[in-house]
Structure formats: C-alpha cells, structure tokens
C-alpha cells in the first residue's frame, strides 16, 4: 500500500511538471512582451505614421487597418454564422444534409490559414476582380472565422431551455417567431462571446491577408473598401523578417499592441461568458 502511495506521488508529480513546462513559458512570453514593449508605447508610436522605412515613427495605419479588417469581416461573417447556427439547431433534423454541413464546418475550421489566403486571392482578388483590397481581405477573413461563430452560437442556443420553445409554440407562435422572441434574446450573450472570440482570431491572422489586402508600407489611411491597408500582424512580420535594423523596442511595441488587443478581447469574452452562466 505504501508503495502505491509513493507511485501516486510520483505520477502526480510528473503531471504537475508537464503542466508547468507549458504554463511557465506562457507567463514568461506575456511578461516579456509587456516588459520590453511597454517602453516603446507613446503617443507618437500609437498615433503617427511610420517614418524612415518603418524604423521610426508610429504604427497608426496598422492599428487602423486591423480595426477596419476586424469590423468588416465580422460584419460579413456574424449574420451568416448566427443564421447558420439557428438553422442547425432550430430547424434542421438529423439527416445526411446536417452531417454534410457539420463536416464542412469542421473542415473549414481545419483548413490552413495560408490556404484561405490562396483561395481569397484566386476568388476575390482575381476572379471577382476586387483587387488587393479591404473587401477581398475581409471576405477571406470572414469565411475563415465562420466556424468559430457557428460553434459558439450553437452552444448558446443549446443553453436556452427547451421549455421556452415549448411555451412559445403552445401559444401558437410560428417557428421563426419562437426563434426570434423566445430563443435568440436569451442566446445573445453567447452569440456575442463568439463574435468577440472571432475578433481576436481575425486581428491576429497574417497568412490570409498576405495576398488579399496587406500593404507593406502605406503611410496614409484608406479611402474606400477598394484600398489596401497595413495590418498589425503583417507589420510585425515584415519588421521582424524583411527590414534589417528595426529597433527591437519598435518590434516589441508592435507585438504588445497586437497581443494586448487580442488578450483584452478574450478577457471580455470570458467575462461575458461567466455572466451568462450566472444568469442561468
């Protein structure tokens, strides 16, 4: 028996070590980015155009570009994603079509981000003649983030008690009326969580925008949806690999702005989700 107790100690100890090997670097990574990036943050860094071949000045156009891409791609993907989840959870029966749709969603979630980039280039930039533009980039990013929105919306719909639907039906409401008035209002926080999570995803992606929208250097703000934009992740990529002698603080500053944005968004999603759970 004593032997078994010792074995348990060793076993649990090993599991703990494995967990620490993962968690400690995460804390170090975030700490390092904050420590080294914080010094670079200034009014000038956040709100002016880059200068001297992007070795000085600010990252304002990249921040604006990422913001525009997030807003446009979510505006495209959210309605489709929510309606797709409504279809799957409130309308569809368990049949072959539903299985095919589910398989497509899984596959969409698993396709490499650079393949989305190729696809977006081939369909939107070339075939539909949108050119390298915000439209092409936003549609590419939107399609990529659909699975996130569909899955989280579905979870939210699943969490709405069945009795709500039954009461609504028993009062003579149609299926759409039931969805509209007895289901969706209660699923809203969950749907928002999905939207917020995809904001984080869209803001951080580089590969899908490489050939569809990202501008290497464009020290002005876009005028229309047909313009290219700079974006934070792409900016970090080129200042790290393509341009020599960019001051390290500048790179860490860009990384901090990007990570900060993504993490704030994720924290917001977590808070929203826990509020939702409390309400239930």
């Amino acid at each position: 028996m004593k032997n078994e107790a010792a074995k348990e100690k060793i076993g649990f100890g090993a599991l703990l070590v494995a967990t620490l090997v993962i968690v400690v670097p995460v804390i170090l990574i975030v700490g390092l980015i904050i420590a080294r990036g914080f010094g670079a943050l200034s009014w000038e860094f956040l709100f002016t155009m880059p200068r001297d071949g992007m070795k000085a000045g600010g990252i304002f156009p990249a921040i604006v570009g990422t913001f525009i891409l997030v807003v446009t791609s979510i505006a495209f993907a959210l309605p489709i994603g929510v309606m797709a989840a409504v279809y799957l959870h409130e309308y569809a029966r368990e049949n072959l079509l539903t299985r095919i749709i589910n398989l497509a969603i899984i596959n969409l979630a698993g396709v490499s981000s650079v393949v989305f980039g190729l696809f977006g280039f081939s369909l939107f930039v070339i075939f539909l003649k949108f050119g390298v533009s915000i439209t092409a980039g936003a549609l590419t990013l939107g399609i990529m983030t659909l699975p996130v929105i569909i899955t989280t919306t579905r979870e939210a719909l699943r969490a709405v008690p069945q009795s709500y639907r039954e009461v609504s039906f028993s009062l003579g409401a149609s299926r759409w009326q039931t969805v509209r008035h007895a289901v969706l209002p209660f699923a809203t926080p969950g749907i928002l969580t999905g939207a917020i999570l995809s904001v984080g995803r869209v803001a951080g992606e580089t590969a899908p925008i490489l050939f569809t929208v990202a501008a290497f250097y464009l020290p002005r703000l876009p005028h229309s949806l047909g313009d290219q934009v700079m974006a934070l992740p792409y900016h970090l990529y080129i200042t790290t690999t393509q341009i020599p002698n960019v001051p390290e603080g500048y790179r860490y500053g860009t990384a901090l702005v990007l990570v900060g944005l993504v993490l704030i968004v994720n924290v917001a999603a977590v808070i929203l989700r826990s509020k939702m759970r409390h309400r239930k």
Binding site: I22, G110, S112, A207, P233, R251, V262
Partner: protein, 292 residues
C-alpha cells in the same frame, strides 16, 4: 397570421437555410478555386513528378517543381512537434481535469486560453528573437533556424487544442467508472491511469489528431523560424521548408500564370486534402467518444 407576415417569414427561413448551407458552399468554392489554378501545373510536370520530385527550383530555367522536400519538411517539423506536444498536452489535461485543486484549475485553464489567443506571428517573432539564438548557442549549430525551432514553436501552438479537447474527453468519462474504481480500493493514480484513460481514449486521440492538423497547417511562426531551405531534410537540426511556408513566402514573387504560380496552388490542394483527412479522422474519434 397576416399574409405579409407569412411572406416575410418565408424569406427569412430561406435565408436561414441558405446560411446553413454556406459552409458547404465555401468549402466547395475553396476546392474549386484552388483546383482551377492547380490543374495547370500538370502541363509542366506529371502528378508523380510534382509530388515525388526531389528538387524545388521554381525560378530556375526550366523550373523544377518537385515538392517532396517540402512535404518532408512539413512532416519533419510536424513529427517533432507531435513528439513534444502530445505527451505534454495529455499529461497537462489530466493534471488540470483530475489533480489540480479547484482554484489552481481556473488559473491553469486561463493560461492555456491565453496561449491559444496569442497570434502565431507573435510566437514567430519571439521564436526568431529568443529561441533561435538560444538553440544556436546551446547546441553549437551553424544556425538556429532549424526544423527543431519550428517543432518547438508548433508544439506550443498545438498544446491548447490538445489540452482542451483531452480535458473535455476526461470530464466526459462517467463518474461511476471513477467511483467504482475508488470503491474497490484503487488509489486516485491507479484510477487515473488504468480506468479513466480508457474511457477518455477516443477523445484524447481526437485531440491529438486535431493538434496535428493545427501543426501541419500552421504558417507564419514556422516560416519565421525554420530557415526555409528547400532541401530534403536529414534531421531536425537543419533548416527546412514546409508546404505552408513555401506558399506564404513565394506567392508574392510568382508571376501569375507561370508554372511556379500554378505549383503553389498545387501545394494548396495538397494541404487542403491532408487537413481534410486529418479532420475527418479526428471527427470520427470524437463521435465515438461522445457515443460512450
């Protein structure tokens, strides 16, 4: 119900159906628009020479478009990442789901979620500024830009997927299994590695598969740290070039309509097919784990 209302509902419901089908349409569109460009590469090389060719010299004249080195590069990096991430991830999932005290559990889960949220380009940036010089000095290599650096980065990126899905699988094991084992006098550890692991196995396998899928398709971080040498790799301590990195790095330079351009779409098709197979297999295991 008024007629106008009926008409409106009819249209709304058609819109909902259309959105439901959108994912299928997009997947089909992706395949069509990749294939549309990719088939033209077969005018330059045969399918066998494309997939099995040992040389990727896309801009020499005549261009040599064999993607075997790239496939092997992707495999080498993926294999390294899997060896690192799968055992670590499963162990951490067991710790978080079964062993960790309640308070610590929340904290650990947040750390995993933060890791999942960090953009790959940021990990690539840290890889190139910290990990790569470290590997170079620590292992005494001519360059730190190696398959190993890619494997380490990718292991980290696959971990959140592996941990969260394994954890779900562990939590889904019926309580009676655990209570039965404990009632028979088994220690918590014995229960864990003899009972719970069997119940959770299909889900854990699915987690590993999805982790592999994530790793195989990852682009930015891997492109930044692996050195991008398109040669057949002999080990993890050399520079390699993956399928994904090749597309990302060369698409900007390839002239539209050139064999090189078509070949990059061909690589896209290869990636699409592989990720499809991986995700399909993972889904079969997940369905099995849910059935239990």
């Amino acid at each position: 119900m008024s007629r106008a209302r009926k008409v409106r509902e009819f249209f709304i419901e058609k819109l909902i159906l259309a959105s439901g089908l959108a994912s299928v349409v997009f997947v089909v569109l992706i395949l069509i628009f990749l294939l549309r460009e990719a088939v033209s590469v077969l005018k330059t090389v045969s399918l066998g020479a494309f997939l099995g060719g040992r040389f990727w010299y896309p801009i020499s004249d005549p261009a040599r478009l064999g993607i075997l080195p790239l496939i092997l590069g992707s495999l080498a990096v993926t294999l390294g990442a899997v060896v690192l991430a799968v055992p670590l991830g499963i162990a951490a999932a067991f710790y978080i789901a079964e062993v960790a005290p309640r308070r610590l559990r929340g904290l650990l889960k947040s750390c995993v979620e933060i890791l999942a949220a960090i953009p790959s380009v940021v990990l690539g940036f840290l890889g190139i500024t910290i990990l790569v010089p470290f590997l170079k000095n620590f292992l005494g290599l001519p360059t730190g830009l190696t398959a190993l650096a890619g494997s380490i980065m990718l292991a980290f990126m696959a971990l959140p997927t592996i941990i969260s899905i394994s954890e779900d699988a562990i939590n889904a094991v019926p309580r009676e299994y655990k209570e039965g084992a404990l009632a028979l006098g088994a220690t918590h550890w014995q229960t864990l590695h003899r009972v719970i692991i069997h119940g959770a196995l299909p889900g854990v396998i699915a987690a590993a598969m999805l982790g592999i899928g994530r790793v195989f398709g990852e682009t930015m971080a891997v492109m930044m740290v692996t050195g991008n040498a398109a040669a057949i790799p002999h080990g993890l301590l050399e520079p390699v070039r993956t399928l994904t990195a090749t597309i990302a790095a060369e698409m900007g330079e390839a002239a539209q309509g050139s064999p090189h351009y078509f070949a990059l779409f061909g690589i896209g098709v290869v990636l699409f097919v592989i990720s499809f197979l991986i995700n399909l297999t993972a889904d079969l295991f997940l369905a099995r784990s849910r059935k239990r």
